[in-house]
C-alpha cells in the first residue's frame, strides 16, 4: 500500500475497496475476482480497452450494481450497509451519458446536486450552486436548457452538479472523518483539449487540497499519467495491474493490454514532469 504520507489525509481512513468482486450476467462474465483499492486524497484512474469492465467496476462503486461474488467496502464497512441518503452526501457520480428529461436549465440541474442536503435549505445552497458552476466554467450557461448544450458543455454541467453534491464535508457518515468521493465515468470523453486538462486539474485539486477520493475512467493514458496518482488496469474483466500510475503504465504493459507500441517522449527542456508517451499506430 503506497500511501502518500505527505498529505494530511490518511488514505486508509475512508478507503473505498473492492475485494474479489465478480459480476456475472446470463451467458457472460463482466468481472472476475477483481480487487482494487481507491484512496482518499488521490486520483485513481480506471484504465483498459473497450469492454474491459471499467464501467462495470464503476457501477459496483456507485452501488448501482451488486456483485455476484465478493464485496465492496467503504471505510471498512460493506457498501449496502450504508443508507443511500447518507451516501448521497459524500459520494457523487457522473455517468458516461445522462439523458435529462424535460427542459431543465443548467442551473436547475446543478441545484439537483444539493438534493441530499436540503434538510437545512438556505442561502448556502445558492452560493454552492453558483461556485460549482464557476468551477466548471458553465455559469454563463446557467439559464440555458441543458438539452440545447453541446456534449462537452453538458459534461461540465454534470460535473458541476456532482461537485455541488459533495461540496463540503459532512459529519458522521463514514466514521470520524468522512471522506467524499467523486466517481467519474469517462469525464473527459466529450471535452475539448483545454477542458480535458481543466477538468482533471480541478478534480486533482479537490483530491489534494480537500482529501476527496477521485475515481475516473480515462482512455487517454497521457492524461492518466499526468493527473492520476494511482491506476487500476482492467483487461477482459480482470485486474491486470494496479499501483502508482507511472509504475504501472510501462510500455510493456501498454503493449500487452492495448496492443499499441508506446514511446516515452522527453518533456520540454528535459524538465522533470510526468512521463508522456507517443503511440505507434497499431498494425
Amino acid at each position: 500500500m503506497n500511501a502518500r504520507n505527505q498529505t494530511d489525509f490518511s488514505p486508509l481512513a475512508g478507503m473505498l475497496e473492492v475485494v474479489g468482486v465478480g459480476v456475472e450476467v446470463p451467458g457472460r462474465s463482466l468481472l472476475q475476482a477483481a480487487s482494487a483499492q481507491f484512496m482518499a486524497g488521490q486520483v485513481t484512474a480506471v484504465l483498459g480497452p473497450n469492454g474491459a469492465g471499467k464501467s462495470t467496476l464503476m457501477s459496483l462503486l456507485t452501488g448501482q450494481r451488486q456483485p455476484t461474488g465478493g464485496h465492496v467496502y467503504l471505510a471498512g464497512k460493506a457498501l449496502p450497509a450504508y443508507a443511500s441518503a447518507d451516501l448521497a452526501r459524500v459520494r457523487a457520480s457522473v455517468a458516461q451519458e445522462t439523458q435529462v428529461a424535460f427542459e431543465f436549465t443548467v442551473r436547475e440541474v446543478v441545484e439537483l446536486g444539493r438534493y441530499p442536503h436540503r434538510r437545512h435549505p438556505g442561502r448556502r445552497d445558492v452560493d454552492v450552486v453558483l461556485q460549482a458552476m464557476q468551477a466548471t466554467a458553465v455559469e454563463h450557461l446557467q439559464h440555458r436548457a441543458l438539452n440545447t448544450l453541446s456534449g462537452g458543455e453538458k459534461a461540465r454541467v454534470h460535473l458541476a452538479r456532482a461537485l455541488a453534491q459533495v461540496w463540503e464535508p459532512v459529519g458522521g457518515v463514514a466514521g470520524d472523518m468522512p471522506v467524499r468521493w467523486l466517481l467519474l465515468d469517462e469525464p473527459t470523453a466529450a471535452l475539448d483539449l483545454q477542458h480535458q486538462h481543466r477538468m482533471l486539474q480541478l478534480v486533482r485539486a479537490w483530491a489534494t487540497a480537500q482529501g476527496v477520493g477521485v475515481v475516473a475512467v480515462l482512455h487517454d493514458l497521457n492524461l492518466a499519467l499526468r493527473y492520476s496518482d494511482r491506476c487500476v488496469v482492467l483487461q477482459g474483466g480482470q485486474v491486470v495491474g494496479s499501483g502508482a500510475t507511472a509504475e504501472v503504465l510501462t510500455p510493456f504493459c501498454i503493449e500487452k493490454v492495448w496492443g499499441v507500441v508506446a514511446h516515452p517522449v522527453a518533456t520540454q527542456g528535459g524538465a522533470p514532469g510526468p512521463r508522456q508517451y507517443l503511440f505507434d499506430a497499431p498494425l
Partner: protein
C-alpha cells in the same frame, strides 16, 4: 343545509343541490387528472404519458361495461343507471385491479421498470379495449347508449355523498402528490442518478402509481372517461413555467380543474336544454388552448 325558518328559494335549491356538487366534482376531477398526468409524465420521463397509461381508465371502462351489460343478466335487480353506486363501485374496483395488474407485470428483480410498465400498460389497455368492444357487441341498444355516454364522461346527476367521497379522496391524493415534486425533479436525471442523489426511487414509483390509481380511479368511476386533461395540463404548465415539478404538480392540478370547469360550462350551455358529453368538450376546449400555447412558446421546444 336547509336549516332556517325561511323557505329556500328555487335558485338556492338549484345551486346547493345541482350546481355546487357539480362544480366541486368538476374541480376535483380536473385536479386529479392534471396532477396525475404530471406525476406520470415525470415518472415515465416521457411527455406523452398520461394517467390512462397505467390502466386506470380502461380498467374503469371495462368494469363499467361489464356492469351495464352483464349486470342485467346476472343481477337483474341491481340498479344500473349512470351514477348509481353499483356502477361507481365496480368501475373503481376495475380501475384499481387493472392498475395492479399493469404494476405487477412491470416488476423485475424486485424493482419496477417503467419501460416495462409503459409496454404492459399499452398491452393491457388494448386488451381492455377489446373486452369493451365485445361487450358493446353483446349489448342491447339501450345498454350501448349507456356505455357510450359513460365513456364520454359527465358531471351530471351526482349526489352529494359521492361528491364528498371523491373530493376528499382527490384532496388527500393531490396533497400527497405534491410531496413527490423534488424526487421527480431528481428522477429527470434518470433513475440511477436519482438513486445516487438519495431518492428512494422504488418508493416514489409505487407512491405515484398508487396516488394516480386512487385519484383518477375515484374520479373516472364517478364521471366516466374525461380525456385529454391529464396529457395537456402538465404540458401547458411546463411551457409557461418550466419543468420544475414544484410548480408543475400544483399548476397542473389547478389548470386541470379550470379546464374541466370551462369545458363543463360549455357542455351545459351550448345545446341548451340538452347537454353535450364532457369528454367531447375537454378536447374541444383543451386542444385549441394547447395549440395556442404551442404557437406562442414554440421557440422553447
Amino acid at each position: 343545509m336547509l336549516a332556517g325558518s325561511t323557505q329556500p328559494t328555487p335558485e338556492h335549491l338549484v345551486f346547493m343541490n345541482i350546481r355546487l356538487p357539480r362544480l366541486l366534482l368538476g374541480a376535483a376531477a380536473g385536479a386529479a387528472l392534471g396532477m396525475s398526468g404530471a406525476l406520470m409524465q415525470g415518472l415515465f420521463r416521457n411527455p406523452l404519458a398520461d394517467p390512462g397509461l397505467i390502466g386506470v381508465s380502461s380498467g374503469a371502462a371495462l368494469a363499467a361495461g361489464v356492469t351495464i351489460v352483464l349486470g342485467s343478466l346476472w343481477f337483474p335487480d341491481m340498479p344500473r343507471t349512470l351514477g348509481s353506486w353499483a356502477l361507481v363501485a365496480t368501475a373503481f374496483a376495475g380501475s384499481l385491479l387493472v392498475t395492479v395488474l399493469v404494476y405487477a407485470l412491470s416488476q423485475q428483480d424486485g424493482a419496477t421498470r417503467v419501460g416495462l410498465m409503459l409496454l404492459a400498460g399499452v398491452a393491457i389497455n388494448a386488451l381492455a379495449g377489446a373486452g369493451l368492444g365485445y361487450l358493446t357487441f353483446l349489448a342491447t341498444d339501450e345498454q350501448l347508449r349507456n356505455i357510450q355516454f359513460w365513456l364520454l364522461g359527465s358531471l351530471g346527476g351526482v349526489r352529494w355523498s359521492a361528491v364528498a367521497l371523491v373530493c376528499s379522496m382527490v384532496a388527500v391524493a393531490v396533497g400527497a402528490g405534491f410531496t413527490l415534486a423534488r424526487p421527480l425533479n431528481a428522477i429527470a436525471l434518470g433513475e440511477t442518478q436519482a438513486a445516487l442523489l438519495g431518492v428512494p426511487v422504488e418508493r416514489v414509483k409505487r407512491f405515484a402509481v398508487l396516488l394516480t390509481a386512487l385519484a383518477v380511479g375515484a374520479v373516472t368511476a364517478t364521471t366516466g372517461i374525461i380525456g385529454f386533461i391529464g396529457l395537456v395540463a402538465p404540458h401547458c404548465v411546463r411551457l409557461v413555467a418550466g419543468p420544475d415539478h414544484r410548480i408543475v404538480l400544483p399548476g397542473s392540478a389547478l389548470l386541470g380543474a379550470a379546464l374541466v370547469l370551462a369545458a363543463d360550462s360549455a357542455a351545459r350551455t351550448m345545446v341548451k336544454p340538452a347537454e353535450l358529453p364532457l369528454g367531447v368538450l375537454t378536447a374541444f376546449v383543451g386542444v385549441p388552448f394547447f395549440l395556442l400555447l404551442l404557437r406562442h412558446f414554440r421557440g422553447r421546444l
